[in-house]
Amino acid sequence: MLQGRRRILVLGCDGCTQPPRGLREAQTYRTLLEMALGRKGGEVDCVAGTVSKQCDTALLAQNYPELVKGRDAVLSLSCALGVQLLSLQYPEVPVFPGQNTVFLGYEHRDEGWLREACQACGDCVLGETGGICPVARCSKSLLNGPCGGSHDGKCEVRDDIPCAWQLIHDRLRQLDRNEWIDGIVPPRDWRSSRDGGVRYQKKDEDWNEPARKEVKR
């Protein structure tokens, strides 16, 4: 990916990336890059920096022209948003992703894992499902309860995936809420997800909300 590039800016992001990819990580990557490139001989000149939020146009425009100037590549340690916004902001320099952007998830510090919890589908059902998302956490995004593959509270896909509908069922029982246990959710409108084409929202205006699903009883 970075073949032939010698003057690389490694740019961290102090924003919401998990695990952290700030200045310290950028400096570590710079050192590693210099070692790897140095072994091939020739001059190597890498620098490290960080941005408080790479997805913020104003921040990128104000503080970083000097850092980017004269570089033959930027390795962004932010999520894919930073990679894309940097490319827009500094079209003269190629920007490369320093990591894969994997999912919107949450962290369990003690057990040491991150788990997907949201697909940004644009029509939130968490209010009805006891705060557990079936779109992101059921492997089939089912909206009317578990499939036949749920066993011992686990998903048929892998035993380390808890069945989201087992969790939802237990939570709704605990809350004594039965409407989603007996009601039928009709086919949903996926336009608010990825299926209405590329999503766009004007700032300070409400998202053009699709019709709310009604629970039939």
Partner: protein, 305 residues
């Protein structure tokens, strides 16, 4: 009559129905379907044609169903939510109905990571309950749910699956009720080895009077060996395999014959169970045993209705 299929006639006349399964081949081998249609004709009221079962690519369920029709054998066309969105699903059902397919089984579908193309993208635009709702709306209201009227409504006898052994156990009867509300006329259950747990499920069904609203067919699969039984216990999601069944298979001098005996016993027990209106024999890759099982359970000849 909703579709006037043979299966619907048997069930609505109060008969104890028998369905079986003819699994499509992994190739463009229509002769495979024709062969089993000829071999098994008259041994069951209708035959399920599976839809890329376990997410393995096979000859399509619609093509397989048409071949059965050409041989004078009634199909139950299966359709999973994994591979089609609501546009393709409804289009295929209109086509299937126009070609004479009357029984349709609506299923979620095994996840694609369990099959032979684990890198495939899935669809799951609708779930199996919403799938029933789409087809019921097409049949009863002559329209696409949320859209335009059809020039001709499909005539369908709608089926669904239920797994009394899946978790959460106490939710399963609620899910059954949802499927009935969404349009299921008949239910084919997951394979039953734990007859006691199935009986408890049927108690729940009867206490909610659901047995009067839907025809439940109990699922059975003959075991070939103790090894298969253990595999099912440990590896197949949603099956409960009691140790007593494994032990019977282990002790048997002729395990295959024992597997058939256990299967026939289960069918007989299901026949006595209140609210159970039939059996679904899934002799997976062992279709030649269907006549022996159906005959052994005293369910031949099949009624002509």
């Amino acid at each position: 009559m909703k579709a006037g299929s043979n299966l619907e006639k048997v069930l609505s006349s109060g008969g104890f129905a028998v369905t079986a399964e003819i699994g499509p081949p992994k190739g463009a081998d229509g002769e495979h379907m024709r062969h089993w249609a000829r071999e098994l004709k008259g041994k069951a009221d209708a035959f399920n044609v599976t839809d890329n079962q376990t997410a393995v690519v096979r000859l399509s369920s619609m093509a397989g169903s048409i071949i059965l029709l050409q041989e004078g054998v009634e199909p139950v066309m299966q359709m999973v939510c994994r591979d089609r969105n609501r546009i393709a699903m409804q289009s295929d059902v209109l086509g299937a109905s126009a070609l004479g397919i009357k029984n349709l089984l609506c299923l979620t579908g095994d996840h694609q990571t369990l099959g032979n193309l684990p890198g495939a993208k899935n669809v799951f635009d609708v779930d199996s309950i919403q799938e029933l709702l789409l087809f019921k709306t097409m049949r009863d209201e002559g329209k696409i749910l949320g859209a335009d009227a059809l020039t001709k409504a499909p005539q369908l006898f709608l089926g669904a699956a239920e797994n009394p052994f899946g978790t959460p156990h106490e939710f399963r009867v609620h899910r059954l009720a949802k499927k009935i509300k969404a349009g299921a006329d008949f239910i084919q259950s997951q394979v039953i080895y734990d007859i006691d747990r199935f009986e408890r499920f049927m108690e729940d069904v009867r206490s909610r009077h659901l047995d009067g609203k839907v025809h439940i067919l109990g699922g059975v699969t003959p075991l070939k060996s103790a090894k298969v039984a253990k595999y099912m216990k440990n590896k197949v999601a949603g099956i409960i395999m009691p140790d007593s069944v494994i032990s019977r298979m282990e002790k048997a001098s002729d395990p295959k014959a024992e597997g058939i005996r256990i299967c026939i016993e289960t069918v007989k027990q299901l026949r006595e169970m209140k609210g159970v209106h039939g059996v679904h024999v899934m002799a997976i890759a062992w279709e030649e045993k269907v006549p022996e099982i159906v005959e052994g359970a005293g369910l031949l000849p099949r009624p002509v209705v």
